[in-house]
């Protein structure tokens, strides 16, 4: 059976070119970058080159005014940013401002901090997922010690006005962190222009290896490490460096930067054609997220009257791999906090599907994808009480909250 992956944000294959660059660092250049002897040289050089390449992907100035700290994931980078700044304790205050649509690696640690007495403000978003900078302005107090707001949302793809948001924080000399895991490698990022103090990213989101991440930290931002020990990564992450993975992250960043515009255009073209095809062939679809300010590889659609896990399972049987924000697909049986934050009615949130194409996606596949989803939607609607209620009464109560 042919298979079509439309869940590239969950996992993408490692770029073959990246793999080739990584391989020698498992065997030939296996040395420890901290070694004083010659074995450490090659790995150390390669690691520093990777640092430069990651910095360049996000527009970091090469004048020593910032550092790139390698981590094992964007989740770890997010934890280092938030916990690290609090543990450093350089600022007086207890308010941390974030948004309602952040990744769990931000929201869950803030929930823990809230229990410890921190004052956590979660800015709401509008129905397209956008934060109003005015609300950040209002939430800022002299007790604010950190603002953390993502560049783009991994689920609905909405891109935030980070430059404006960061300017508000900077005016009050409050550090601004941004989670760029969903954005890095796909849209141009410039930490200097955005004016952010910290930025998290993950290499596996742009064809780098899993287990690769980084935190950009501007000079002057004091952090305490999550893992204490040796002085690796400027003392911010103890433990022998995972050189092959770091080298892979660097190479993936270099390749992403080199072909950023082309990659972005390619996935956006596929996404737009898929969207057009789905909306013209299948009735009662609802687009989630912003119509324009969204990531090029994100299409999030709710199929009215049906539930996401059933859709996902049926599409899986047809060889099409997608994800859903339905409560039934989550272990915790909670529907997506992002879809809740944009005010999507529960029935629509249950029927959400995320199509995340990759560079391997082919436009020739679109008629098959649309055809299958059309069939599956018909089949599941035919057994849906909400659909039959709609047919009888003509109004869609499922869309009423």
């Amino acid at each position: 059976m042919k298979t079509i992956n439309l869940d590239y944000t969950a996992a993408a294959p490692l770029d073959e070119k990246v793999l080739q660059v990584m391989l020698p660092y498992f065997t030939e250049h296996y040395g420890n970058p901290s070694s004083g002897h010659s074995l450490g040289e090659k790995p150390r050089e390669a690691m520093e080159k990777a640092r430069l390449d990651v910095g360049r992907l996000i527009g970091a100035a090469e004048d020593g005014t910032s550092s790139i700290i390698f981590t094992a994931s964007a989740s770890e980078a997010n934890n280092l940013a938030v916990k690290g700044i609090i543990a450093a304790g350089k600022r007086n205050g207890n308010r941390i401002i974030t948004s309602a649509v952040e990744h769990f690696s931000i929201l869950n640690q803030l929930k823990s901090l809230e229990k410890e007495g921190y004052d956590i403000v979660r800015l709401p978003v509008d129905s397209s997922g956008l934060i109003d900078p005015g609300q950040l302005e209002e939430a800022m107090t002299d007790q604010t010690i950190l603002v953390s707001i993502q560049v783009a949302n991994p689920e609905i793809g909405t891109i935030q006005p980070v430059e404006k948001l960061a300017a508000i924080a900077r005016e009050r000399e409050v550090p601004f962190h941004t989670d760029a895991a969903a954005a890095a490698g796909w849209i141009p990022l410039d930490v200097e222009k955005m004016g952010v103090d910290m930025l998290s990213l993950a290499g596996d989101q742009f064809y780098g290896p899993k287990g690769s991440g980084a935190l950009f930290v501007r000079r002057g931002v004091r952090l305490r490490p999550l893992i204490e020990g040796g002085i690796q990564e400027k003392g911010l992450r103890a433990g022998t460096e995972n050189v092959p993975v770091i080298v892979g992250l660097g190479e993936a960043a270099r390749l992403a930067r080199e072909s950023l515009a082309e990659r972005s255009r390619q996935v956006a073209a596929f996404r737009d054609k898929l969207k057009e095809s789905l909306f013209s062939e299948i009735p009662h679809l609802h687009l989630n997220g912003h119509p324009e300010k969204r990531m090029p590889r994100n299409l999030n659609v709710s199929v009215e009257f049906v539930e996401g896990e059933a859709l996902l399972m049926r599409l899986n049987m047809a060889g099409i791999y997608v994800s859903s924000g339905s409560s039934c697909t989550s272990q915790a049986l909670k529907s997506s906090h992002v879809l809740e934050a944009i005010g999507l009615p529960p029935a629509l949130a249950q029927g959400s599907l995320l199509f995340a194409p990759g560079l391997e996606s082919r436009e020739e596949e679109i008629p098959y994808i649309t055809g299958q989803l059309s069939e599956v939607a018909k089949l599941l609607r035919n057994m849906s009480p909400l659909y039959h209620q709609y047919l009888k009464e003509g109004n869609n109560n499922a869309n009423v909250q």
Binding site: E307, E309, A310, M313, T329, P345, Q350, P385, L386
Partner: protein, 128 residues
């Protein structure tokens, strides 16, 4: 996606008895879109035997398989027998359900029991 048994996948792929009985003797509705699952069962009863069972279900793979299995288990049973179908029996008949999906089997039996209660109430009123 949770690990479903072969039986669950089989019922999910080929659900039995989908639909709504016209002029049913009993109707049972449970769930709502917030919890993720909704079921509407309709039954036809003749001489104290459940002659026909149909349902509409909005929900996950487990909810659909449970609805299908409940409809099969109830059909041909006496009203009392059908009232005694338990959530546990439904889950067992499906070769088990993942832990966090057990509530789906509760919904299926609940919807059936509600439809039977509705039938019994209507019957009681008619006899008075």
């Amino acid at each position: 996606m949770p690990m479903y048994s072969e039986k669950v996948m089989e019922h999910f792929t080929n659900p039995r008895n989908i639909g709504e009985i016209e002029a049913p003797d009993g109707v049972g509705e449970v769930g709502n879109p917030v919890c993720g699952d909704m079921m509407k069962f309709t039954i036809k009863v003749k001489d104290n035997i459940i002659e026909d069972v149909k349902y509409f279900t909005f929900g996950c793979g487990a909810a659909i398989a449970v609805s299908s299995m409940v409809s099969e288990m109830a059909r041909g049973k006496t009203v009392d027998e059908a009232m005694n179908i338990t959530n546990k029996q439904v889950a067992e008949a499906l070769g088990g359900l993942p832990g966090n999906k057990m509530h789906c089997s509760n919904l299926g039996a609940d919807a059936l029991h509600k439809a039977i209660q509705d039938y019994l109430e209507k019957k009681g009123e008619a006899e008075q």
